[in-house]
Amino acid sequence: MNGYLGIDVGSVSTNLVVINSEGEVLEKIYLRTKGQPIDVVQRGLKELKQSLADDIEIKGVGTTGSGRNLTSVVVGADTVKNEITAHAVASSHIVPDVRTVLEIGGQDSKITILRNGIVVDFAMNTVCAAGTGSFLDQQAARLGIPIEDFGKMALKSKNKVRIAGRCSVFAESDMIHKQQMGHNLEDIIAGLCEALVRNYLNNVGQGKDILAPVVFQGGVAANEGIKEAFAEALETEIVVPEHHDVMGAIGAALLAKDKIVNDGEETSFKGWNVTEIEYTPSSFECEGCANLCEVIEIRMDGEIVSRWGHRCNKWDLAQ
């Protein structure tokens, strides 16, 4: 059976999925990137190979996320696509008439507006990451609640407390203050969910025409409290897809499938044995001129296979 591999290497998580020719998810893996994208991709591939049925042959590979270029060098990708497009592709595949995609990940949040299956507008948080997954993680840890239970607790609230959500540092002090005043935890958490949604809609969602159906995806979509707060603020039902946490990888796999099927090409996938090869990234500052470019290079078993970050062509690899 044919399979298509999608890899989404983000700042916080790295996701791998394999889909079949119908675009159904056969296998998915969600890992923490921990600042070691190559390592984690290799680990993910190893796990994937073990759990995947033997008769599945990888016919195409797509990468996305902030580590998309690096990963494409390592695994040999057929398509390399930015995560905004990849996410939109995945959501319109799963909910074909979707008109709004809300997405909150580890360190970024974005909104994508689609009409008739076409992306017509998008926005992404720029200078602030208040209210993304990392902050929720941090707050859950501070309160000693597993992040998985965070949303469920919010749903128990009867009387939400208003939390200042503009800045995550101030949100934290406000929460501490509310705790000291004697509010119960459920109400504070529900208030935090509401504040994050308010902040998201005011910043990322500013000036956007949010129409139903609304899909909510990204790691934070697992949080029922946030989902509920969105439903309340937007006065519409919020759809959270089954594989909401790996939508970027699904989009990447779909794009790879599309390309391979349309162009009738062979995949550039280097095969499962890439997990055995040693890739070492390194960087140095070029002192050739005042630009002081930070050049990054990747070595495969000691040999340089890719290099980027330089302004001129001094460090281009000879073809």
Binding site: I84, T85, V89, S92, V120, T126, G207, C312, N313
Partner: protein
Amino acid sequence: MKVTFPQMGSLNIPLETLLQGLNIEIVSPPPLTKRTLNLGVKYSPESACLPFKLVLGNFIEALELGAEAIIMAGGNGPCRFGHFGELANDILTDLGYEFELYILEPPVKSIVDIFVKLSPNFNWVQVIKSLRFAWKKLILIEEIKKYRLKHGVFLSKNQINKLEDEYLQLIREAKNKEELASIDHNYKKEIDEFTDGQQTSLLKVGLVGDIYTVSEPFANLNVSKRLNELGVAIDRAVFVSKWVKDNLICGALNISSNRKVIKAAKRYLQEGVGGLGLETVGETVLYGEQGYDGVIQLAPFGCMPEIVAKSLLTEVERDFGLPVLTLTLDEHASATGVQTRLEAFVDLLTQKKNLNKKTFLN
């Protein structure tokens, strides 16, 4: 007295020509680097805008290289730019630098006085000669940039950088207008050779926004080259020569030269809001009327004029069905983030354009 001035794009080249023509000794500001930014961020108020931080950092570097005086433009109106000179003066004095600061602002006589003072042998014939040659260089620099923006599509960033740096250096060294003419000719020929046989661009995008952020590639993380690389042909609305003509020359004569832009903006904004806010709106409308595929607005974080413009662009976007992407830039902006947004924007424009043909997965 060794004089320095703010760097912005390739402005150092015509300014060197002008000042050297007046026999004023100069210290050309070094190219903007991470060090410039770090110095600027360190000594600026946190809420100052990116252009100020870069200019301040660059002044410090020039003072370290032995500059004894700084010349910069001033201004009035709601943009913080009018305040830059005084603010930089206070900060640099507090840091212990000894220098003289000359702020060029109307009336014209005060500007002339500054040059009379700085030039050891000031004479009008020389002034007009240098001014004309400097202006020719400025126009040529803008011309080669315009040509590359429009025709240099699918060229890699590195290719463009190398070619552009090489030709800018030639312009810098050029001694007469014949040399300039041949530079112009050769540059265009090289770009044409590079792009010959390449795919032609399908997308046309207009670039609007704050003049500093649009003109200085270090400030905008090389947006225009990234777009060229992605196969987009660009028209840039903002150039220094245009600004000088609209604001200094026509402003002094009290005639408005950018009437067309102001008229275009009229439905959305009737008054100047400082900086290029009004122009950003007007130029975007004009791009909409000319059938451009999209517009990118560049704004420094916290730039009031561009924030006003941005909220109005939402309406322009709707009225013309013209997608607008706003990139807000400051010292925290990351190249990866900018690249991702640009790629997604190009995908959006491509899909929109091919609405009737095959789209992603449909």
